[in-house]
């Protein structure tokens, strides 16, 4: 009997793997994930949150296999589902999701083709790496790599197989809620994972098979939905974390646009080439910070902002408002509507008024939907009929109101002397900035309606 290969994981205990899976985990492409933090600089809020995408990918791999086994998936497909979960994050760059808008801004949309409309850039990079990595090519056949990419893209395999790796209750979310909760030291991401996995079922439609859940698992699913909601409000959208994320994004953006750091621009200009991927794979969170902040590096905005982050001299939230702060519907629509075009002129006006460096004022809009939005369509299977989660869950049925929480923030390099000074400043900031917003909205109202031509 051959020995079992195992890895001890703080969330799931022992994770078992086959020799070829171990070899894939040992590639440089996968090992790089050790150097990407799962939650960027959330450790400036929750000191324990220094865990990596490596651990998360192992967890997703383990859970994908566990779900596949519970559903009775055959060995060939189970292997593909596990591989897809294992490799789903290999395309992340330094600071993962935080820098996605920069990648989107500088990547070559024409060269990337229609996929750019349907997927995030880091996903396109993941598919590219899986397809073209020489290391992975030696360990996974061409056909299987195509199938793995197809599972991630949603173009290969039955729907339920795709939903194990990418869907409302996929192995990715099932892992990161538990993992981020433990490493952040909060209890919000906890749910009954065993019960959830073991009550998942395949729901047969006429020509496809979907992932559904037995009526017996409805409370585990409710728990999962609440866990996702609480983790979003308490960890992923924590107010200090929003500041660190926006400072990282601004630092990199200014490094490219103002400091003219060539290598930084190249790093965020994905063009679909193998040469780009080869260089991209050499980058990690720490390398990016070191290259920007090291002694002798070009002085400029990026260096200054990363030094602030490094020493936790964070910007302060000087304005935090929601729709109720704007009684005039036109201004409310201006702030919380689809456009962000007023951000730059507002940042400039605020910086000039309060005498801050213009690029150090950041406008930020936050929006997230109430719980159970994406999960509401999950089929719930009873012996005699199939319904949908939002029809079946007594808990979510009783609050069947879809609510979108939206807030508008301004961050700036403000220093408060004491709590009294903070309170006094807050009132002044609010009065001055709301007036500035009203003027910008008035100017906007005089322009013609936005949008494309009527065909």
């Amino acid at each position: 009997m051959r020995p079992r290969l195992e890895v001890r994981d703080p969330i799931h205990g022992f994770i078992y793997r086959e020799p070829d899976e171990r070899d894939i985990m040992d590639t440089a492409v996968f090992q790089r994930l050790r150097r990407l933090r799962q939650l960027a600089l959330a450790n400036l809020v929750y000191p324990g949150a220094t865990h990596s995408r490596f651990g998360h990918s192992l967890g997703a791999f383990h859970l994908a296999g566990k779900i596949a086994t519970a559903l009775g998936v055959d060995e060939t497909e189970r292997r593909l589902v596990r591989l897809a979960a294992l490799l789903h994050d290999v395309g992340h760059g330094p600071f993962s999701h935080v820098t996605e808008p920069i990648l989107k801004k500088h990547s070559d949309a024409k060269k990337l083709g229609p996929d750019i409309k349907e997927a995030k850039i880091h996903e396109l990079i993941s598919w590219h790496i899986i397809k073209s990595s020489p290391e992975l090519s030696k360990l996974i056949s061409d056909r299987q790599r195509e199938q793995v990419i197809g599972l991630l893209k949603g173009t290969w395999g039955h729907s339920y197989l795709q939903e194990i790796v990418s869907g409302p209750i996929d192995a990715d979310k099932q892992d990161y809620l538990l993992r981020d909760s433990v490493f952040s030291g909060v209890k919000y991401g906890v749910y009954d994972q065993e019960r959830l996995s073991n009550t998942l079922l395949i729901h047969e439609d006429n020509d496809d098979l979907f992932l559904g859940i037995s009526i017996d698992g409805i409370h585990a699913l409710e728990q999962f939905v609440l866990a996702k909601y609480y983790m979003t409000t308490q960890v992923y959208r924590h107010k200090i974390r929003l500041i660190t994320d926006s400072m990282i994004e601004r630092a990199i953006d200014l490094g490219i646009e103002e400091d003219k750091i060539d290598w930084l621009k190249s790093l965020y200009s994905y063009d679909g080439s193998d040469a780009y991927i080869e260089e991209y794979l050499t980058w990690s969170d720490d390398r990016l910070v070191n290259e920007i902040s090291r002694k002798g590096a070009r002085k400029g905005y990026a260096k200054e902002l990363f030094e602030r982050l490094y020493n936790r001299r964070l910007f302060k939230c000087i304005l935090d408002v929601d729709q109720n702060d704007f009684p005039d519907p036109n201004i409310r629509n201006f702030v919380f509507g689809d456009s962000k075009e007023f951000f730059k002129p507002l940042e400039k006006a605020v910086a000039d008024h309060f005498k801050w460096e213009r690029n150090h004022v950041i406008a930020y809009k936050i929006s997230f939907d109430s719980a159970a939005k994406t999960e509401s369509e999950i089929p719930v299977i009873r012996r005699t009929k199939t319904t949908l989660f939002h029809d079946e869950s007594a808990l979510f049925k009783s609050v069947d109101q879809k609510i979108r929480e939206q807030r508008f923030h301004i961050y700036a390099p403000m220093k408060y002397e004491d709590e009294k000074h903070k309170m006094k400043s807050a009132r002044e900031f609010k009065n001055v900035i709301l007036e500035m917003i009203a003027k910008l909205a008035d100017r906007q109202a005089k322009l013609p309606l936005e949008g494309g031509e009527h065909k």
Binding site: N206, P329, N333, G337, D338, Q401, I403, G451, E453, H454
Partner: protein, 182 residues
Amino acid sequence: MNASQFVLSLIHACGGRVQGRTLLQKTGYFVSLLTGLPVDLRYNAHFYGPYSATMDGTVTQLKNLGFVEEASTGFGIVSGGFEVRRFDYCLTDDGKRICDPILKTPEYKAIADAVQKIQNAGHPDYMELSIAAKAFYILNKQGKRMTAQELLSEAEKFNWNISEHSLSRAVDFLKLVGVATS
């Protein structure tokens, strides 16, 4: 025109009130087809017919901003112990104010004309409009002429149960609004 302006215009053109989530979705589906406005609503096949998550999200946003009001009406307990509810949407006074500048645009006129066309075709309720939307969704996806029998069997693949009688009424509706030919 963006998605918010489209939804506000749609509700306004329907008289400022739409009764039911399904009716709003399906009316939006046909209005976007009839007007050809470049609003990216991304309709997908869904249990209740073509469905746009973008439109759903936009309605949620408009509610949050106080431009649209959602009222829920209960229709009693059905088997299984659950209550059937209908969600109606109407423009608030603030919503009407936001609509004002849009009403003067050619895009609004196109939307109002399309709504009028749908109403002239027999003022269909949410169920009739759903069936018509399902039938058109299939025809559009297939991109070819189909017999009633072929249409019914395609509908089954989406788990959509449509009777021949309903289908015939749906096809009549599609002809009347001008998105299908005999």
